[in-house]
Amino acid sequence: MIALLGLVLLHLCGSALRVISTRISFRQALERPSSVWFAIVAAYCVSLGPWGALLAAVLVVISRVGLSPLPNPLPLRRGELIGFAALSALVLARPWVPTQWDEFVWIAKARLETLGFGGGVRAALDASMHVLPAGYPPLWPASMGWLSLHHDDVEADVLSGSLLMLICVATLIEVWREEHVSLVGLAVLFASPLIWVHLRSTYVDLPVGLLSAALAVCLVRGHERPPFVAVLLGVVLAAFKDEGLLHVFAATGAALLMHGVRKWRLSLPAVAAVTATLIWRGLLRSHEVVGFDHSVGSPAWAEAPRLAELLTLHLFDLHSWGVFWALTVAAMVVAGNSPMARGLRLTLLGLFAVTFFALLAGPERVRVFAENGTLLNRLLLQLWPTAALLVFSALLSPRSLDAPAHQAAPASR
């Protein structure tokens, strides 16, 4: 249960940092699950050493360029509280033991934090340590280690991963809640069986997707100035997994297309994400660590038809997804005039485009993984939350399809 204590401490620290950086009240900060990311990003900057100071400096500068406040959260209704409590119970009610391949690998990296704060970063930057997979951004496993308060205990690390998953869900709910929510509509979104497998695991794919959708919502609704938390989500996405940067690009591109390229502040999350990525890549290069999974080369255009076929087969795998992706296609067709639905449709199209391009331009082993059936469903999990919000907005929302999203009163960041 030490992970629960770790979560409380991180939330308190994050709330304090949020008060300092965005000048909201401590109570407002405490009420927001996303305050945890303030602490996690700060800890990440510290763990990177001197280069982390550069990232922190960039974030401080960005926080001063007049970003928009995030509206105060609406009061939670009793049904929503019960729904989130039930989801949490289902996610946590299991033996806290890893059972799937990458869970062991992620938690092995979380274990490096037991060597001391920043142990994961130090080991990842030491090629002689042979940490696998090499070169991956270190934040997801490091965060698990921080929540476990550096305790070398597999149950604590698994619980930490599950709590982080729930924080990602809560962050998405927090930024989404200005839309009119139908509990039945939200509940049926979870009628995708593979989601339940991953909600009850410590894989990073679903958290990347949840935060990606949260960022997309912030940018679609941001009009001109996104909230500062969107900038932090950009950093977290880039530091969780290399694909996270592509998600930031997709969300940014969609927002600029919707609101106009002159709304330059909408690209600030991308600026922060690129800075985080360049710093990590620079550190890898200076320490001569080669990350072979996510290098980018010339696109293998000849393999595009086969990859498209494989992607289609995965999308319509009835046991894993039911007919969720079929309804996503329908939602894209009938997205209507709701700004949120149109923004999410653009974002999702961008996500499919960058994901497909990453498969084409990635190393050969990535396409081998796709052929073997060990990769594409996990990439689709990263797209699922944005697609789910689109299905909700376009097909399941109780609000009229054509009504524009209302503007909530700004109050805090």
Binding site: A191, H198, A326, L327, G373, L395
Partner: protein, 165 residues
């Protein structure tokens, strides 16, 4: 168009969960989707129904839930990590992790991994030995086998961990 038995697609063993549990609800992605033909027909039909009945909001939730039932049957009942089976799965994983921790405790003991099969035990050993310093002296370790429930033994500063055949 082939329609295969659902039984052969189930991830029914702990080893199948370790290797493919996160990649799909069944082993269909690994088996190159033997039912792809009729699944595509279902998907096209669902898309058409969703567009045609988009104003009838009760139809779409029902469609999503009904289509998810076969997958839910696997997730919550048939898979080796379904709620009723998860205790046994966790017990097997714990037993193997304990054996590795007993014979090759990390980071206390210097242990050099000289052989590991690229199979079900690979990720468990990665957890047991998350760093593998090139300069590690000490005892050597080899891990062989393709199933959980590993037993280790030491012979002349050489640890051998094996699972079943």
């Amino acid at each position: 168009m082939s329609v295969t038995s659902d039984d052969g697609a189930t991830l029914a063993t702990p080893e199948a969960i370790v290797i493919d549990g996160a990649n799909g609800v069944t082993n269909a992605p690994r088996a190159h989707f033997p039912n792809a033909g009729w699944e595509l027909v279902v998907a096209v039909a669902a898309t058409v129904v969703a567009i045609a009945f988009r104003k009838h909001r009760r139809v779409l939730p029902a469609l999503l839930v009904v289509a998810a039932l076969p997958g839910f049957l696997h997730v919550f009942w048939r898979r080796a990590d379904a709620p009723l089976n998860r205790g046994a799965l966790a017990s097997q994983v714990r037993s193997t992790m304990r054996e590795f921790a007993k014979f090759a405790p990390w980071p206390r003991d210097a242990v050099r991994v000289v052989h590991e099969d690229d199979d079900v035990l690979f990720p468990l050993l990665r957890y047991a030995r998350p760093t593998r310093p090139s300069s590690d002296g000490g005892v050597t370790l080899e891990v062989r086998g393709a199933s959980l429930r590993v037993k280790c033994s030491v012979v002349a500063r050489h640890i051998v961990c094996r699972s079943g055949p």
